[in-house]
């Protein structure tokens, strides 16, 4: 029952709040017709079907054909062990997208729960949670992720957990500020008055209203997470060889840069194109779902 009364009330307020400076939302069709959406779709399809379309295996070595320049047989050339760089970029895409989505999911879940609890319960919960989050946000750049990898030990899974946890404070701050304004809404007070339990209110009335902001933030975060994870992979703090991971592949090519630029160039280019597509799609998504948050 409360659900039905809640929805329109939330929407009304959202409309009233930013009716003045709200850009006209682009249509759903227009959103998915964007070049970035198209590019992203191709990247996802390529990565998902890597097992079928990759001409060679992930770790299939062929020492005779080592360090071959790009050709029809090997579009991106081969690396020091004669592995096909194109196939490895495809497999690496699978891994990178998986890392990006999982880490964003971990960070988003932890961050949203902490943020919503802080914003909704207020008082002491809020003070403690926010002081803690402020301290975590005070760690520069990727330092927090690096420390967590140090604690857990360098491995693929630990890298995902580390990057995920390190991105949680950002979500927490975003969700908290929204939850703060939502908790004084009439429909929330009404639910409280009729005796709905706090966490039920949070899950049924607060979080659904935050969905769009969190989706937009998470989309942009996936790109950031992919960049950070690739950087840590490059430093040797993530996947172990011979796993095809983009950061690790760039690091592999470093030794042979002088004679075989393609080993380094293509995995890095893959990262660049992927993050670029996600960032621009995220921007477009922002104007569509959450005009107030649109930035850049």
């Amino acid at each position: 029952m409360t659900d039905r009364t809640a929805e329109p009330a939330g929407n009304d307020l959202a409309l009233a709040a930013d009716a003045s400076d709200r850009p006209r939302p682009v249509g759903l069709l227009k959103l998915f017709m964007a070049p970035s959406a198209f590019g992203l779709l191709i990247i996802v399809l390529l990565a998902v079907s890597a097992d079928f379309i990759a001409p060679y295996g992930e770790a299939e070595i062929d020492p005779i054909n080592a360090l071959m320049p790009p050709s029809w047989g090997h579009p991106f050339g081969t690396d020091l062990f004669g592995r096909d760089v194109f196939s490895r970029v495809l497999y690496g895409g699978q891994l990178s997208l998986f890392i990006g989505c999982t880490a964003a999911l971990i960070g988003g879940t932890i961050g949203a729960l902490v943020g919503v609890a802080a914003g909704f319960f207020g008082k002491l919960t809020d003070s403690i949670a926010m002081r803690f989050i402020d301290i975590l946000l005070a760690f520069p750049g990727t330092l927090l992720a690096i420390v967590i990898v140090a604690v857990l030990g360098p491995s693929m899974i630990n890298l995902i957990i580390a990057v995920g946890i390190a991105s949680a404070p950002g979500y927490a701050r975003l969700v908290r500020s929204h939850a703060l304004s939502l908790r004084s809404m009439e429909y929330v007070t009404a639910s409280r008055v009729i005796g709905v339990r706090p966490w039920t209110i949070i899950f049924r009335h607060i979080l659904p209203n935050l969905r769009n902001s969190v989706i937009v933030y998470a989309t942009l975060d996936i790109a950031t997470v992919i960049l950070i994870a690739a950087g840590l992979g490059f430093l040797g703090l993530g996947a172990r060889p011979p796993t095809a991971e983009w950061g690790l592949m760039v690091a592999d090519g470093r030794e042979t840069l002088q004679i075989a630029w393609w080993v380094t160039a293509f995995p890095g280019l893959a990262i660049l194109v992927t993050t670029l597509c996600i960032y621009s799609f995220g921007e477009r998504l922002a104007t569509f779902l959450d005009p107030k948050q649109a930035r850049f």
Binding site: P140, V147, A265, T275
Partner: protein, 315 residues
Amino acid sequence: MAGYALWRIGAAVPVLFGMVLVVFLLLNVLPVDPIQVMITQTGSGQAPSASATQETIDNIRRELGLDRPLHVQFLAYLGNALSGDLGSSFRSNQPVAEMIAEQYPYTIRLALAGLTATLVLGLTFGIIAGLWPGSLIDRLLVLVATLGIAAPTFWLGLMLIFAFSIVYPIFPVLGVGSLQAIFLPAITLGLPGAAIVARLTRSNLAAVMKEDYIVTARSKGVSGRLLVLRHAMPNVLAPVLTVIGLQFGNLMTGTVIVETVFSRPGIGRLGVDAILQSDYPVVQGFTLVMATTYVVVNLMVDLIHMWVDPRIRDQ
């Protein structure tokens, strides 16, 4: 103003304290036992020796004070850290503070060079694009800036080495001392920040140029460089300054990657090697120094901000 400055300095202390606490707690709930790591790694780093009896382990634990309650250990660590003692490396037994002091100047030099690249590139291109918004050069710069944000630093560095050290050997691949050797690392490190500064400067300047006071100044005959630099820029720079402070954090952790790419010495390399070798005292020291530098730099940025902005200064 002095009151605000003192308050701002005071506010940095609990943050620093909290950061030390977080790092300490994280590295003391390790899933592995540091003593075990020490036994397997000290000396020649051979396989775990069977001769390490329980008694030896207990002795080392007592010697290092690891048998004490956690809060006692923390207070001891904090006290030692404040007096410049960060413990000793598990591997080399060298004092951590000494190891960091050796490498720190390289990292700071690199970070400052990167900051210079951020400022020079970001402001120059931001001003050009902001003065002629919508022009071809503006659109081109926005595109390049977007690429700068999306490109992975480590890859960018290697591509710059390939282009300017291998194909066109203008800059040396290796080398630490010379100005020439720091050019490519600085560009690599500073480029993502430059992209952000350029975008911010561009949009701020484009907005400020439409303000009434600029129109007034222009109608009074102020023109060209004076109009931009004397009238418009002060208002553009305030938010840019804040962003630069925040960007310095990315610069600091960026040095970790740039030092690896260009094979330069520095605490970033020291920290990563320590992580790979489970040398926790060094990891702890590395993290503390990185975090402290960042907090101090942001404190300085805030104080500079206060000093250059008359609205805050005259309060």
